[in-house]
């Protein structure tokens, strides 16, 4: 019973956070609501005894991705107002379609098919059960092939990001620190021997 109350509270919070992400005006607020959404979904995963995934979600998404995201957003100072211009205009049509979809999906994804009597509650694991250990034991054995493909996907993402953003500008004047550090005294100073000038000459 307590489980259910906690779940519904978290689920409601998650839906609230999710809808705030797409409706608030300020992009920084939207990002912060996304952080809230990540936290609540992590908590739901904890209820499912998937503690490794929950912690990874918080560490990776909240700790790294969202911080980076916020950082970029504050640096770029994007004005989102023009992007949202159509929101009110498309809301009636979009909202209607969304409501219809929700209604149709509610008919199917309800207690009739997904009720708790159809899916019995899984047995609780013992206290010394480690979700992390279980994941680790299959990740590089049973699932090594999908794991490698996921690695290739990340590599493609890196290649694509660099290919799309790297611009080589050969004529730009920029400091080259490695050359500055490696410079030697002989490169810069030239000692010239000169005959001494006569005193008093004009």
């Amino acid at each position: 019973m307590t489980d259910q109350i906690i779940f519904y509270a978290l689920a409601l919070l998650l839906i609230f956070a999710g809808s705030m992400v797409i409706t608030v005006r300020n992009p920084v607020h939207a990002a912060l609501f996304l952080v809230l959404a990540f936290f609540t979904s992590a908590a739901i995963w904890l209820l499912l005894e998937a503690e490794f995934l929950a912690i990874a979600l918080v560490l990776v998404y909240v700790g790294a991705v969202m911080v980076l995201f916020l950082f970029v957003m504050m640096m770029l100072d994007i004005n989102l107002a023009p992007l949202r211009e159509g929101f009110a205009r498309y809301l009636p049509v979009g909202g209607l379609v969304a409501l219809l979809m929700m209604f149709a999906m509610g008919l199917v994804v309800g207690p009739r098919y997904f009720g708790s009597e159809r899916f019995p509650v899984p047995a609780r694991h013992a206290a010394d059960y480690s979700n992390t250990k279980e994941l680790g034991s299959v990740l590089y054995t049973d699932y090594v092939y999908p794991f490698e493909i996921a690695a290739a996907i990340l590599l493609v993402a890196i290649v694509a990001a660099i290919a799309l953003t790297l611009r080589r500008r050969p004529h730009i004047k920029a400091q080259k620190p490695q050359l500055q550090v490696a410079v030697r005294r002989e490169d810069r100073i030239r000692l010239v021997k000169m005959t001494s000038e006569k005193k008093g000459s004009p």
Binding site: Y113, D142, V144, Y145, I149, A150, A152, V156, A157, A160
Partner: protein
């Protein structure tokens, strides 16, 4: 043995070589990118040879049943490698003349090929999704690679957003299927579905989302919105790539998901595919008439051909799947030649993507006008070219399956569609050229496109050869 990796040798080879090409590209920075190009081509040929060498007589599972290697996967992988080889060859000419030559094109192309191979050999819902993402991610980047072009950026953005939405739909469908069956393995999902006594609404609910994902990747109406914009906006070399090899992979994905995994639900997906197929043939053939840009026209032609491809799948028999496979391979061959001709006629600073650019081609180059004539006749489905046989086999299966009205509509739409293919032939042979044009392409490009065109003719004269391969591939 848990790690029997030999069946996946082509995939491993492509992954390894893609990384090698990436490093070579980074350190061996020459403007012509000849080394990168040849390494990529060798990789594709090597992958085709490895596929044939390890090509099994019957179905072999590897990696804890996540990976499947069967005659169908072998044939499709070889087709993907050969088509991509030709695509790279055409693209190089285009990229060089339009000053877009970058090593990343070939690197991303190789990763896309890897994604296609993963998709073709998928035996698990997880690998289907991962293969699809690997393929799509490479394609988005390839579309956007021409950074200074506004239309390319717009096309990439549209493609990315819509495709991400479709991936989300597919993933949702997969999650429902997993929720109901408790399995990701296609064979076990199939087993659980066939064991069910009463129809399960939830499975059909999941199926709908899976179909949306597949239809989007194939480009079937009403999930076709991205195709015309992306085909027109992307550089022709990338359009050429997107429109050919990935369709082979999308076909494999449809077969793996609908037949291997959800074969028990055939009664449900047959009806959905009938709607998709009918709408695709109607919209594709009719809207194509109004186009004045050949890339956009070929985009709508793709949509129409996807409708035909779905006809073969929805007939629900092994013979139907083989006819669809024949169709998709032939389609890839014809589209490669069609976009190849657009590339052949383009030169630096000139795209040659309007229909009017084909005016009077016959007076300037009899031979290439003839090649284009073969391609257009074949796309329209005129005998004896191979496009006719593709349509013939598919229609035969649909009639055998008892859906005669759909076959009748398919023929009507083909006749409507013949108009816009034949219009190009008319422009080439009976109109006067607006501009003086000289074909500046390289000799290898001229040679390969001639071979490509003649292959369409030769396969049309002897269609039994490829068809028997397709039948053998699916009956194992």
């Amino acid at each position: 043995m848990i790690f029997d990796i030999a069946p996946a040798a082509p995939e491993i080879f492509v992954l390894g070589m893609a990384c090698v090409v990436l490093i070579v590209e980074a350190y061996h920075n020459e403007p012509s990118h000849a080394l990168v190009y040849w390494l990529a081509q060798v990789t594709l040929l090597g992958a085709a040879v490895l596929t044939l060498y390890f090509g099994p007589e019957q179905t072999v599972l590897a990696f804890n049943d996540i990976f499947v290697s069967d005659p169908m996967s072998a044939l499709l992988k070889v087709a993907v490698c050969v088509v991509t080889f030709v695509v790279f060859l055409y693209s190089r000419t285009y990229l060089r003349e339009h000053d877009l030559l970058k090593g990343e094109y070939f690197v991303l192309g190789l990763f896309a090929v890897l994604g296609m191979m993963v998709l073709i050999s998928a035996h698990n819902l997880l690998t289907i999704y991962l293969g699809l993402e690997l393929l799509s991610l490479s394609l988005y980047a390839m579309v956007a690679l021409h950074r200074d072009s506004e239309s390319a950026s717009e096309a990439a953005m549209k493609y990315f957003v819509l495709s991400a939405l479709a991936s989300g739909m597919l993933l949702y469908g997969i999650s429902i299927l997993y929720g109901v069956t408790g399995n990701l393995d296609l064979a076990r999902v199939s087993l659980i579905i066939t064991e069910q006594t009463e129809p399960n609404t939830l499975l059909i609910f999941g199926l709908v989302f899976v179909i949306v994902g597949v239809a989007f990747k194939l480009g079937a109406v009403p999930f076709h919105m991205w195709i015309p914009d992306v085909y027109q906006g992307a550089p022709t070399s990338v359009t050429l790539f997107i429109s050919t090899a990935p369709k082979l992979a999308a076909f494999a994905m449809a077969i793996r998901l609908l037949v291997d995994g959800l074969g028990g639900l055939i009664g449900s997906w047959q009806d959905m595919l009938i709607i998709l197929s009918f709408l695709s043939m109607a919209a594709g053939n009719i809207i194509a008439i109004a186009q004045s840009n050949i890339k956009r026209m070929l985009a709508y032609s793709t949509i129409a051909h996807v409708g035909f491809l779905l006809l073969g799948i929805l007939s629900g028999t092994l013979a139907g799947y083989s006819s669809a496979m024949f169709y998709v391979i032939v389609y890839a061959l014809m589209t490669t030649a069609a976009f190849g001709m657009v590339i052949l006629l383009s030169r630096s600073g000139f795209e040659s993507d309007r229909l009017d650019d084909f005016k009077g081609l016959a007076q300037q180059s009899q031979w290439f006008a003839f090649v284009m004539l073969i391609v257009m006749f074949s796309l329209a489905g005129v005998p004896p070219f191979v496009g006719f046989w593709g349509k013939w086999f598919v229609l035969k299966e649909v009639i055998d399956a008892g859906i005669v009205w759909l076959a009748a509509f398919a023929v009507i739409f083909t006749v409507i569609g013949a108009f816009y293919y034949l219009r190009i032939v008319k422009l080439m042979y009976f109109d006067k050229a607006d501009t003086d044009r000289s074909i500046t392409s390289s000799h290898e490009m001229r040679f390969v496109i001639s071979v490509n065109g003649l292959a369409i003719l030769a396969l049309g004269l002897a269609p039994g050869l490829l068809m028997s391969l397709c039948v053998a591939a699916l009956s194992a």
